[in-house]
Symmetry: D2
């Protein structure tokens, strides 16, 4: 079903950009888990707009209100529902979009799909705003995962043609992840980060936008997480990652690079580490073999297209009179969505991994 994800831990996201509220129901969380709401709030702040010069000036409190599922600060077995009120919305900005769909947005396809009944204001249910409840769900799942030794973190791998240092496939660790997460602009190499910010500034000044890639890792997964075939880690992770608006590509381990390699280069030999644990010498497989976690760091990359909303004049077709028309998109938009998308990628990973973890425990 379209707005639900997960089998054992299942999230259902609701809301439109300009409806009264948005939110998420999380069903199937293990009972008895303490949820630190301040930590959840801090996590969500990483996604929230309006914090920096390179972001949309639109400010939203994004304070989730938990209606159910917690009892005395702990999960109680019942579905957890959190609601975020929509405030500070300027619907008038969007009204003309019903007839003149914005290029690269879902305006056109949704208008066709729903026979003209879709809530077109601000992208409706297709708005990037709907990643706020995803981040809420992810923040909750992350706390439960952390208690089981599983940590997730990501960084901006590139903005346009400016690249950060990539994570080491074999040596990414808790310390590095913790360090990155605390940065306002999460990159490994702050010099590269400065160049990226310049790139974003340039795009904003040009009334343009720019794309980028996010790399993220999950460490501490035990061997054996992930179901065979259609519910392997890659399938489940890709499935939820592509639900984040603007994602156009997902790869695991060395990803597309693997397609250029010989088997003798790409295969990761099994070795014993100093403690006698089995691991692989290299980690081209990105921690996943046959859809199942191998115990090595799980590493993935997600490609984001440039924010579709740009100030520059674009061509579109007026759906009412069926004529081509010039369009200038007003409103307030991020020239680069990638910095705010880092916690979204982490959240999506947390939801998918916790679900598979809970499923996998059956076989233990």
């Amino acid at each position: 079903m379209s707005s639900s994800f997960g089998e054992r831990v299942k999230i259902t996201i609701f809301g439109q950009s300009h409806s009264e509220g948005i939110g998420v129901v999380i069903d199937g969380l293990p009972a008895g888990e303490s949820i630190d709401m301040e930590e959840v709030q801090r996590f969500m702040q990483r996604r929230a707009p309006g914090r920096h010069a390179y972001q949309t000036p639109r400010k939203e409190a994004d304070v989730p209100r938990v209606l159910s599922g917690l009892f005395e600060g702990k999960t109680c077995g019942a579905p957890l529902c959190a609601v975020i009120e929509n405030t500070n919305t300027r619907s008038a900005d969007y009204e003309k979009l019903k007839v003149t769909p914005r290029p690269a947005h879902a305006d056109f396809t949704a208008e066709m799909k729903y026979d003209g009944f879709q809530d077109y204001r601000g992208g409706g249910h297709f708005s990037g705003r709907l990643t706020a409840p995803l981040c809420f769900a992810g923040a909750v799942c992350m706390q439960i995962l952390a208690r089981r030794g599983i940590l997730i973190g990501g960084h901006i791998l590139s903005v346009g043609d400016v690249a950060d240092s990539a994570f080491s496939l074999t040596d990414i660790n808790a310390e590095i992840l913790a360090g990155i997460v605390q940065k306002v602009f999460p990159v490994c190499d702050d010099a590269a980060g400065a160049c990226m910010r310049e790139k974003i500034d340039y795009a904003r000044e040009e009334h343009d936008s720019i794309g980028g890639v996010i790399e993220a890792a999950a460490i501490g997964l035990p061997v054996g997480i992930g179901e065979p075939m259609f519910d392997g880690l890659e399938s489940r992770l890709a499935s939820i990652l592509f639900a984040i608006p603007a994602v156009k590509g997902v790869e695991f381990g060395n990803g597309f690079e693997a397609a250029q390699k010989y088997g003798s280069e790409n295969n990761d030999a099994f070795v014993l580490d100093s403690t006698g644990e089995i691991r692989t010498k290299t980690n081209n497989h990105g921690g996943i073999l046959g859809g199942i976690s191998s115990g090595m760091p799980l590493i993935l990359r997600t490609a984001f297209k440039p924010t579709p909303s740009i100030g520059k004049t674009q061509s579109t077709v007026n759906l009412q009179n069926c004529k081509e028309e010039a369009l200038e998109v007003g409103g307030r938009h991020d020239p680069c969505i990638v910095p705010r998308a880092v916690p979204c990628v982490e959240a999506a990973m947390a939801v998918a991994i916790l679900d598979l973890l809970c499923i996998s425990q059956i076989n233990e």
Copy 2:
């Protein structure tokens, strides 16, 4: 559930590489659809091993036997089950793999996940052989899609560092797809194809293997196919594509390249074509906006790692005595899985698209 895929049209795949049989149940097919079993057979032959010098010499008839779901040559509303008997298997080749897992295979992770009870022979349920029932299901779905004007076809975009010409994002059409599918070695540019075959020959001679990328397109999709958020076309397609063994990356439209672009370059302007239909001038979005089909060609690329089974000596860990050990993988293997994987990608696409098409018809 791990080995089932789909909501409305649902496939369930069963079997292990060396079990008595493998097969698929397809539930939810529309009733009254003629299925041409010879065409199904022809489609499956494109995946079958042993046809060419650059493939494993292992020969399998791969003749599916339909047990149910067809009546007088047409789907009858009941689940369609097809079984392929496993013959010509040499289990002895694989016995030592229980204790010495092959690098880059699922041997290790499955052994851990199933506490030593997995059927390790030939990769068990994780074997590439399980793509035969996927191709059966895809062939059936393709016939139903074709009747509705939707065609799917793919080619080898690259093998190692040798590249074929890419499909035109805007101009890929039925004629080109039909032409490619008839080729024994499906590429656009046969000269590039010849180089690829040399590359594969070289890998085989070196007892090595090599990876590659498959590009595929679906044309004729009406606007509006795909559900929002977690059941968008990209999510569903990626989910099933990553279930094909060896896939490490999936991208749509211009994919990872979009991450390097400015919005003004990447956005696809809406225009009117000569017949007054709305289309986009460019097709960087690959036919999908907001997870929903735009009416433009749906184009994707799938990265395959090199076949993990290689003749060269590799390092592994003996699970019994917990010592590192040299491993030479016997058996018969494709030096490059990519040519045989083309119909697998097409089949996966057909299954996912037919499912979403049937779901979407509800709103019409």
Copy 3:
């Protein structure tokens, strides 16, 4: 997943009796459907407590607030979320229930299942209060069904040993259903209704409670609704009806009576009606053959046990000191839940039928 129901139209219910709020997300509703919120409110009032002498004096506004999914009064394709705030709750009434579970309630089983972390106040997620969002969802679905000629209505068939006249299996019609629904105490025979109310009064005076049976019908279903085997109408309806607290039995058509009949008595002959339509002469099958609607009225009966909460002293076991203990349940309770459960049964039917209707349209 526990608190979600449906495949195509899917509801997810959240909340506990004493959490901040309760509510429901309805995903997959057809777009463009007008929803009359006043009618929804009227429907929900039929379930609301505190309206009559024979009900709990606890008064709740039960005013649902729609956060999403409606746009200009119509469904817009996005999930519809409605929230009801919890007010007028007296948690103190329930605190001792953590250690002394009430007989016939879920207190004990939930406490065990969730290792002591469940929200025991007022039954938590297991409270009858959670039928309020079910009624909201049902009211929405009913409006969509009515637009397609499908009407649903129920009456109190019995309270204790006092019985109302049963619906005619063959002749139940829109007029009768409309008439019953408007009654404060929905019975066919008001004299029987008066006896029932006396029975309920007696139970209340005795600090006791009493059970009853609800009979309900859906008319206007086209032939062909319902999927074979596990998703037949009976399976889906029973599945959701047993989710209403206190339901212990469900039967269709002549139900358990069929078990006493000969085939020659029980089989419903096919005949032509005056307009040339095929129908059955009798309707022992209750409108369902092979799980699929036959075009005859769909009729079912649902048995409700007496309200578990009674004022009389009962025996329980103290979970803390593991000793048997006398329990007097305080709080405010309905001596008979059946009158308020009528709209719950109707709502459950509406949700299940709309889901199957939307699924079935695919084959048309």
Copy 4:
């Protein structure tokens, strides 16, 4: 999806009465479980036709062939598929049923649903024959449950108006269940059984059929099995039980009788047994409170209508010429399906309970 059941342990049943084969895929079984195929075969024999005078003389070997999912006699984590070939079918018996649907069968509704494309021979996918793969799946699940101390068994509670002694709600135990299962005609009171057989003989002689009720129990369930709301034990069990052809009613504990009781009579007091375990004094709740197992015996009753196929002349409508017509159903049919349905009920319970058991283990 229509022919699949279960979330964690999922069965998918395929086949039509006269297709080449029928069978089942069971996905999600815990790995490492020994399956005794002879015991499976013995279980299936209890359902097989042709064993007794009171059954159809049609003889079928019903020997399941396991294609996958077992390795060295144990479940291996991959989906288990078993196929039963269809032999000894006489299609000619059924050909006229396409135009003259049999009363009380699915012929008419399926013909309408599938626009005339359904496989009408012998009831197609709606045939009682499809309970053979259900019994296979149940037999497998039962062995896994037995290893965890959970036993399931049923008896014929009534045939027409002849009743067996009911199970004691509180005292039903392993010994009684084991004793009943070994009987050719499974009743508690053999004298009642003799009367039932006479009743069945009479029905056969009259070319008629007769209905009945099956009562079944599951003992040894730990407290806490079953998910809240829509996935409670009653919802899941009813859902699968109504998938057995001819079932028209399902009740738990004292079922419909509860509707006639006062709360003070019906509530089951919690007490301590001699070993200090918490149990209930009575068991009107049938082992389920709030959808969750209470540790008391789970008891249910299932009403079967009389076999629809009878030799007596009946009225139907010819779908071709739209005229009423007299119908004599040929073929070989059970005058009473109830004796053979006992293992079907047990199998359905085993599948649903194992699924919920596997799900519930997550919270431990």
